[in-house]
Protein backbone atom coordinates (compact mmCIF):
# COMPACT_ATOMS: atom_id res chain seq x y z
CA UNK A 1 0.00 0.00 0.00
CA UNK A 2 0.96 3.63 -0.26
CA UNK A 3 1.94 4.91 3.17
CA UNK A 4 1.59 8.54 4.15
CA UNK A 5 1.43 10.75 7.22
CA UNK A 6 -0.40 13.96 7.90
CA UNK A 7 1.38 17.27 7.53
CA UNK A 8 1.69 19.42 10.68
CA UNK A 9 -1.52 21.36 11.29
CA UNK A 10 0.29 24.69 11.00
CA UNK A 11 1.51 23.82 7.50
CA UNK A 12 -2.00 22.91 6.38
CA UNK A 13 -3.37 26.10 7.95
CA UNK A 14 -0.85 28.14 5.96
CA UNK A 15 -1.99 26.40 2.76
CA UNK A 16 -5.64 27.34 3.36
CA UNK A 17 -5.04 30.68 5.08
CA UNK A 18 -6.89 32.82 2.54
CA UNK A 19 -9.94 30.60 2.13
CA UNK A 20 -13.29 31.06 3.82
CA UNK A 21 -14.77 27.77 2.69
CA UNK A 22 -12.59 24.67 2.80
CA UNK A 23 -13.34 21.08 1.84
CA UNK A 24 -11.24 18.23 3.26
CA UNK A 25 -11.40 15.17 1.02
CA UNK A 26 -10.36 11.85 2.51
CA UNK A 27 -9.54 8.72 0.55
CA UNK A 28 -10.93 5.29 1.41
CA UNK A 29 -8.09 3.18 0.11
CA UNK A 30 -4.37 3.11 1.03
CA UNK A 31 -4.33 6.13 3.34
CA UNK A 32 -7.33 4.78 5.23
CA UNK A 33 -5.55 1.60 6.21
CA UNK A 34 -2.42 3.50 7.21
CA UNK A 35 -4.61 5.83 9.32
CA UNK A 36 -3.45 8.99 7.57
CA UNK A 37 -6.32 10.16 5.37
CA UNK A 38 -9.47 8.10 5.81
CA UNK A 39 -12.93 9.13 6.99
CA UNK A 40 -11.87 9.41 10.63
CA UNK A 41 -8.74 11.40 9.87
CA UNK A 42 -10.63 13.72 7.51
CA UNK A 43 -13.12 14.40 10.31
CA UNK A 44 -10.38 15.07 12.83
CA UNK A 45 -8.55 17.41 10.47
CA UNK A 46 -11.71 19.31 9.52
CA UNK A 47 -12.64 19.71 13.20
CA UNK A 48 -9.12 20.78 14.12
CA UNK A 49 -9.05 23.37 11.33
CA UNK A 50 -12.44 24.76 12.36
CA UNK A 51 -11.35 25.05 15.98
CA UNK A 52 -7.95 26.55 15.16
CA UNK A 53 -9.39 29.13 12.77
CA UNK A 54 -12.08 30.12 15.25
CA UNK A 55 -9.50 30.54 18.00
CA UNK A 56 -7.50 32.66 15.60
CA UNK A 57 -10.47 34.99 15.13
CA UNK A 58 -10.95 34.07 11.49
CA UNK A 59 -13.45 31.22 11.54
CA UNK A 60 -13.31 29.11 8.40
CA UNK A 61 -16.14 26.93 7.12
CA UNK A 62 -14.42 23.55 6.94
CA UNK A 63 -16.35 20.48 5.89
CA UNK A 64 -15.17 17.02 4.96
CA UNK A 65 -16.12 13.99 2.91
CA UNK A 66 -14.38 10.81 1.85
CA UNK A 67 -14.37 9.09 -1.52
CA UNK A 68 -13.60 5.42 -1.96
CA UNK A 69 -10.58 6.14 -4.16
CA UNK A 70 -9.24 9.55 -5.13
CA UNK A 71 -7.04 8.19 -7.90
CA UNK A 72 -9.83 7.18 -10.29
CA UNK A 73 -12.05 9.64 -12.12
CA UNK A 74 -15.32 7.77 -11.60
CA UNK A 75 -15.06 8.08 -7.84
CA UNK A 76 -14.58 11.85 -8.13
CA UNK A 77 -17.58 12.69 -10.31
CA UNK A 78 -20.13 12.44 -7.44
CA UNK A 79 -18.36 15.16 -5.39
CA UNK A 80 -18.21 17.74 -8.18
CA UNK A 81 -20.77 20.02 -6.52
CA UNK A 82 -18.98 20.06 -3.15
CA UNK A 83 -15.67 20.71 -4.91
CA UNK A 84 -17.22 23.58 -6.84
CA UNK A 85 -18.46 25.24 -3.65
CA UNK A 86 -15.08 25.11 -1.90
CA UNK A 87 -12.49 27.85 -2.23
CA UNK A 88 -9.72 25.42 -1.30
CA UNK A 89 -9.73 21.62 -1.33
CA UNK A 90 -7.42 19.81 1.11
CA UNK A 91 -6.74 16.34 -0.24
CA UNK A 92 -5.98 13.65 2.30
CA UNK A 93 -5.10 11.28 -0.51
CA UNK A 94 -1.57 10.39 -1.51
CA UNK A 95 0.21 12.53 -4.08
CA UNK A 96 -1.72 10.70 -6.78
CA UNK A 97 -5.02 11.64 -5.16
CA UNK A 98 -4.07 15.32 -4.91
CA UNK A 99 -3.14 15.40 -8.59
CA UNK A 100 -6.21 13.43 -9.62
CA UNK A 101 -8.44 16.01 -7.94
CA UNK A 102 -6.54 18.91 -9.49
CA UNK A 103 -6.61 17.29 -12.91
CA UNK A 104 -10.28 16.29 -12.78
CA UNK A 105 -11.44 19.63 -11.40
CA UNK A 106 -9.26 22.25 -13.16
CA UNK A 107 -11.20 25.12 -11.54
CA UNK A 108 -10.46 23.87 -8.00
CA UNK A 109 -7.44 24.88 -5.94
CA UNK A 110 -6.20 21.64 -4.38
CA UNK A 111 -3.55 21.41 -1.66
CA UNK A 112 -2.06 18.34 0.03
CA UNK A 113 -2.81 17.45 3.65
CA UNK A 114 -0.43 14.50 3.68
CA UNK A 115 3.19 13.79 2.98
CA UNK A 116 3.24 10.63 0.86
CA UNK A 117 6.05 8.57 2.30
CA UNK A 118 6.57 5.21 0.58
CA UNK A 119 5.14 1.92 -0.60
CA UNK A 120 5.22 -0.51 2.24
CA UNK A 121 3.38 -2.61 4.75
CA UNK A 122 2.54 -2.60 8.45
CA UNK A 123 5.09 -4.81 10.21
CA UNK A 124 3.16 -4.46 13.45
CA UNK A 125 0.17 -2.38 14.49
CA UNK A 126 1.24 1.25 14.23
CA UNK A 127 4.52 0.58 12.38
CA UNK A 128 4.94 0.76 8.59
CA UNK A 129 8.09 -0.09 6.64
CA UNK A 130 9.13 0.50 3.05
CA UNK A 131 9.20 -2.56 0.82
CA UNK A 132 9.06 -1.41 -2.81
CA UNK A 133 10.72 1.46 -4.68
CA UNK A 134 8.80 0.95 -7.93
CA UNK A 135 12.04 0.70 -9.90
CA UNK A 136 10.20 -0.83 -12.84
CA UNK A 137 12.46 -3.87 -13.14
CA UNK A 138 11.85 -6.35 -10.35
CA UNK A 139 14.76 -8.52 -9.19
CA UNK A 140 13.03 -10.15 -6.23
CA UNK A 141 13.35 -13.49 -7.99
CA UNK A 142 17.13 -13.30 -7.53
CA UNK A 143 17.10 -12.07 -3.97
CA UNK A 144 14.74 -14.43 -2.22
CA UNK A 145 11.84 -11.99 -2.17
CA UNK A 146 13.75 -9.30 -0.29
CA UNK A 147 14.33 -6.07 -2.20
CA UNK A 148 17.80 -4.52 -2.03
CA UNK A 149 16.56 -1.50 -3.97
CA UNK A 150 13.95 -0.52 -1.39
CA UNK A 151 15.63 -1.89 1.72
CA UNK A 152 19.37 -1.28 1.19
CA UNK A 153 20.41 2.32 1.79
CA UNK A 154 22.89 2.06 -1.10
CA UNK A 155 20.63 -0.01 -3.35
CA UNK A 156 23.46 -2.48 -3.89
CA UNK A 157 22.97 -5.43 -6.21
CA UNK A 158 25.90 -7.71 -5.32
CA UNK A 159 26.06 -8.15 -1.60
CA UNK A 160 26.43 -5.90 1.43
CA UNK A 161 28.75 -2.95 1.88
CA UNK A 162 31.27 -2.58 4.70
CA UNK A 163 28.70 -0.76 6.78
CA UNK A 164 26.74 -3.94 7.47
CA UNK A 165 27.55 -4.88 11.03
CA UNK A 166 25.90 -7.61 13.07
CA UNK A 167 23.12 -7.72 10.52
CA UNK A 168 22.30 -4.04 10.91
CA UNK A 169 22.69 -1.15 8.49
CA UNK A 170 25.16 1.57 9.46
CA UNK A 171 22.68 4.22 8.38
CA UNK A 172 20.15 3.32 11.04
CA UNK A 173 20.49 0.87 13.89
CA UNK A 174 16.82 -0.03 13.53
CA UNK A 175 17.22 -1.02 9.89
CA UNK A 176 18.30 -4.58 9.22
CA UNK A 177 20.91 -4.99 6.48
CA UNK A 178 18.91 -6.05 3.41
CA UNK A 179 21.78 -8.15 2.15
CA UNK A 180 22.10 -9.96 5.47
CA UNK A 181 18.39 -10.76 5.20
CA UNK A 182 18.86 -11.91 1.60
CA UNK A 183 21.83 -14.11 2.54
CA UNK A 184 19.98 -15.67 5.47
CA UNK A 185 16.93 -16.39 3.36
CA UNK A 186 18.84 -17.84 0.39
CA UNK A 187 20.84 -19.99 2.79
CA UNK A 188 17.64 -21.25 4.45
CA UNK A 189 16.31 -22.20 0.99
CA UNK A 190 19.67 -23.66 -0.10
CA UNK A 191 19.81 -21.16 -2.96
CA UNK A 192 23.10 -19.42 -2.20
CA UNK A 193 24.12 -20.24 -5.78
CA UNK A 194 22.01 -17.27 -6.85
CA UNK A 195 24.62 -15.01 -5.27
CA UNK A 196 27.32 -16.32 -7.60
CA UNK A 197 25.73 -14.58 -10.53
CA UNK A 198 27.15 -11.08 -10.71
CA UNK A 199 24.52 -8.48 -11.41
CA UNK A 200 25.46 -5.80 -13.94
CA UNK A 201 24.80 -2.14 -13.16
CA UNK A 202 21.07 -1.64 -12.93
CA UNK A 203 19.23 -0.03 -15.81
CA UNK A 204 17.57 2.85 -14.05
CA UNK A 205 15.75 4.02 -17.15
CA UNK A 206 12.74 2.00 -16.01
CA UNK A 207 12.79 3.91 -12.74
CA UNK A 208 12.65 7.66 -12.15
CA UNK A 209 15.72 8.22 -14.32
CA UNK A 210 13.61 7.53 -17.39
CA UNK A 211 11.22 10.34 -16.54
CA UNK A 212 7.51 9.99 -15.78
CA UNK A 213 6.36 6.48 -16.58
CA UNK A 214 3.33 5.31 -18.51
CA UNK A 215 1.87 1.92 -19.19
CA UNK A 216 -0.43 1.38 -22.15
CA UNK A 217 -2.47 -1.80 -22.53
CA UNK A 218 -4.03 -1.86 -25.97
CA UNK A 219 -6.12 -4.89 -25.01
CA UNK A 220 -7.85 -2.81 -22.34
CA UNK A 221 -8.27 0.54 -24.06
CA UNK A 222 -11.75 1.70 -24.95
CA UNK A 223 -10.96 2.96 -28.42
CA UNK A 224 -13.15 2.59 -31.46
CA UNK A 225 -12.15 -0.37 -33.55
CA UNK A 226 -10.61 0.75 -36.79
CA UNK A 227 -12.14 -0.97 -39.77
CA UNK A 228 -9.77 -1.51 -42.61
Amino acid sequence: MIVAEQKPLDEIRDLIADAGKVLVVGCGTCVTVCFAGGEKEAGILATSLRMASKLNGNAQDVTHLTVQRQCEWEYLDPIEEQIRQAEVVVSLGCGVGVQALAEHFPQAWVVPGLNTSFMGLPTEQGVWEERCAACGSCILGLTGGICPIARCAKQLLNGPCGGSQDGVCEVNAETPCAWQLIYDRLKAHDRLDLLMEIQPPKDWSTSRDGGPRRITREDLRLVAEQVE
Binding site: L9, K40, I44, M51, A52, L55
Partner: protein
Protein backbone atom coordinates in the same frame (compact mmCIF):
# COMPACT_ATOMS: atom_id res chain seq x y z
CA UNK B 1 -15.03 34.70 45.07
CA UNK B 2 -14.51 36.53 41.77
CA UNK B 3 -17.00 36.56 38.91
CA UNK B 4 -14.75 34.26 36.91
CA UNK B 5 -14.96 31.68 39.67
CA UNK B 6 -18.74 31.60 39.35
CA UNK B 7 -18.88 30.84 35.62
CA UNK B 8 -20.49 27.40 35.31
CA UNK B 9 -18.03 25.01 33.70
CA UNK B 10 -18.84 22.14 31.40
CA UNK B 11 -16.62 19.12 31.94
CA UNK B 12 -17.37 15.92 30.06
CA UNK B 13 -16.40 12.83 32.05
CA UNK B 14 -16.07 9.72 29.89
CA UNK B 15 -16.39 6.91 32.44
CA UNK B 16 -15.87 3.19 31.98
CA UNK B 17 -18.91 1.08 32.89
CA UNK B 18 -16.79 -1.35 34.90
CA UNK B 19 -14.94 1.10 37.15
CA UNK B 20 -15.31 4.89 37.14
CA UNK B 21 -19.03 4.84 36.38
CA UNK B 22 -19.60 2.45 39.30
CA UNK B 23 -17.19 4.50 41.44
CA UNK B 24 -19.25 7.61 40.72
CA UNK B 25 -22.36 5.67 41.68
CA UNK B 26 -20.72 4.56 44.92
CA UNK B 27 -19.63 8.14 45.62
CA UNK B 28 -23.30 9.08 45.48
CA UNK B 29 -24.32 6.22 47.75
CA UNK B 30 -21.63 7.27 50.22
CA UNK B 31 -22.86 10.87 50.04
CA UNK B 32 -19.40 12.09 49.07
CA UNK B 33 -19.35 15.72 48.00
CA UNK B 34 -17.65 16.69 44.77
CA UNK B 35 -18.16 19.44 42.18
CA UNK B 36 -21.13 19.09 39.88
CA UNK B 37 -19.34 20.28 36.74
CA UNK B 38 -18.33 16.86 35.37
CA UNK B 39 -21.18 15.44 33.30
CA UNK B 40 -20.79 11.69 33.02
CA UNK B 41 -20.90 9.85 29.70
CA UNK B 42 -20.89 6.11 30.27
CA UNK B 43 -18.65 4.06 28.00
CA UNK B 44 -18.57 0.27 27.86
CA UNK B 45 -14.78 0.64 28.23
CA UNK B 46 -12.47 3.62 27.85
CA UNK B 47 -11.10 1.74 24.85
CA UNK B 48 -14.25 3.04 23.14
CA UNK B 49 -12.99 6.62 23.54
CA UNK B 50 -13.08 8.32 20.16
CA UNK B 51 -10.66 11.14 19.35
CA UNK B 52 -13.13 12.82 16.99
CA UNK B 53 -15.91 12.70 19.60
CA UNK B 54 -13.62 14.33 22.16
CA UNK B 55 -12.65 17.04 19.67
CA UNK B 56 -16.34 17.66 18.98
CA UNK B 57 -16.90 18.11 22.74
CA UNK B 58 -14.26 20.83 22.79
CA UNK B 59 -15.50 22.33 19.54
CA UNK B 60 -18.98 22.67 21.00
CA UNK B 61 -17.77 24.37 24.14
CA UNK B 62 -16.68 21.78 26.69
CA UNK B 63 -14.22 23.42 29.06
CA UNK B 64 -12.57 20.17 30.00
CA UNK B 65 -12.69 16.44 29.42
CA UNK B 66 -11.82 13.77 31.95
CA UNK B 67 -11.44 10.16 30.94
CA UNK B 68 -11.73 7.66 33.77
CA UNK B 69 -10.88 4.02 33.20
CA UNK B 70 -9.86 0.95 35.15
CA UNK B 71 -6.57 0.64 36.96
CA UNK B 72 -3.83 -0.27 34.52
CA UNK B 73 -3.67 -4.04 34.28
CA UNK B 74 -7.28 -4.43 35.39
CA UNK B 75 -9.16 -3.55 32.19
CA UNK B 76 -12.21 -5.76 31.68
CA UNK B 77 -11.21 -5.94 28.02
CA UNK B 78 -7.48 -6.37 28.70
CA UNK B 79 -6.00 -3.16 27.29
CA UNK B 80 -8.86 -0.74 26.58
CA UNK B 81 -7.64 1.69 29.24
CA UNK B 82 -4.10 1.62 27.81
CA UNK B 83 -5.49 2.44 24.37
CA UNK B 84 -7.46 5.29 25.94
CA UNK B 85 -4.31 6.63 27.60
CA UNK B 86 -2.59 6.83 24.21
CA UNK B 87 -5.62 8.51 22.66
CA UNK B 88 -5.70 11.08 25.45
CA UNK B 89 -2.02 11.78 24.71
CA UNK B 90 -2.93 12.18 21.04
CA UNK B 91 -5.74 14.62 21.86
CA UNK B 92 -3.36 16.63 24.07
CA UNK B 93 -1.01 16.94 21.10
CA UNK B 94 -3.89 17.94 18.80
CA UNK B 95 -5.18 20.54 21.27
CA UNK B 96 -1.70 21.99 21.45
CA UNK B 97 -1.56 22.33 17.66
CA UNK B 98 -5.07 23.78 17.58
CA UNK B 99 -4.27 26.38 20.22
CA UNK B 100 -6.12 25.04 23.26
CA UNK B 101 -4.41 24.08 26.50
CA UNK B 102 -3.60 20.33 26.53
CA UNK B 103 -4.31 20.33 30.27
CA UNK B 104 -8.00 20.54 29.45
CA UNK B 105 -8.06 16.76 29.03
CA UNK B 106 -6.75 14.18 31.48
CA UNK B 107 -6.84 10.44 32.03
CA UNK B 108 -7.62 8.97 35.44
CA UNK B 109 -7.54 5.36 36.60
CA UNK B 110 -9.58 3.83 39.41
CA UNK B 111 -11.49 0.73 40.42
CA UNK B 112 -15.23 0.54 41.01
CA UNK B 113 -14.58 0.63 44.78
CA UNK B 114 -12.56 3.88 44.64
CA UNK B 115 -15.39 6.35 45.17
CA UNK B 116 -13.22 8.87 46.98
CA UNK B 117 -10.70 8.75 44.12
CA UNK B 118 -13.49 9.56 41.67
CA UNK B 119 -14.52 12.49 43.83
CA UNK B 120 -10.88 13.61 44.05
CA UNK B 121 -10.51 13.36 40.26
CA UNK B 122 -13.64 15.45 39.77
CA UNK B 123 -12.27 18.01 42.27
CA UNK B 124 -8.86 18.09 40.57
CA UNK B 125 -10.26 18.44 37.06
CA UNK B 126 -12.74 21.14 38.07
CA UNK B 127 -10.05 23.13 39.87
CA UNK B 128 -7.69 22.79 36.92
CA UNK B 129 -10.26 23.90 34.36
CA UNK B 130 -11.37 26.76 36.57
CA UNK B 131 -7.76 27.96 36.63
CA UNK B 132 -7.58 27.70 32.83
CA UNK B 133 -10.90 29.51 32.43
CA UNK B 134 -13.79 28.82 30.05
CA UNK B 135 -13.15 27.28 26.65
CA UNK B 136 -12.69 30.23 24.26
CA UNK B 137 -14.58 28.24 21.60
CA UNK B 138 -17.86 28.56 23.50
CA UNK B 139 -20.54 30.14 21.39
CA UNK B 140 -21.34 32.57 24.18
CA UNK B 141 -19.56 33.33 27.39
CA UNK B 142 -21.75 32.51 30.37
CA UNK B 143 -21.69 35.31 32.89
Amino acid sequence: MSAADQVPLQIVAYCCHYCAYAAADLAGVLRLRYPGEPKIVELPCTGRLDVLEVLHAFEHGADGVMVAGCLEGDCHFQVGNLNARRRVAMVKDLLNQIGLEPERIEMFNMSSAMASQFAAAAEEMTARVRTLGPNPLREESVS
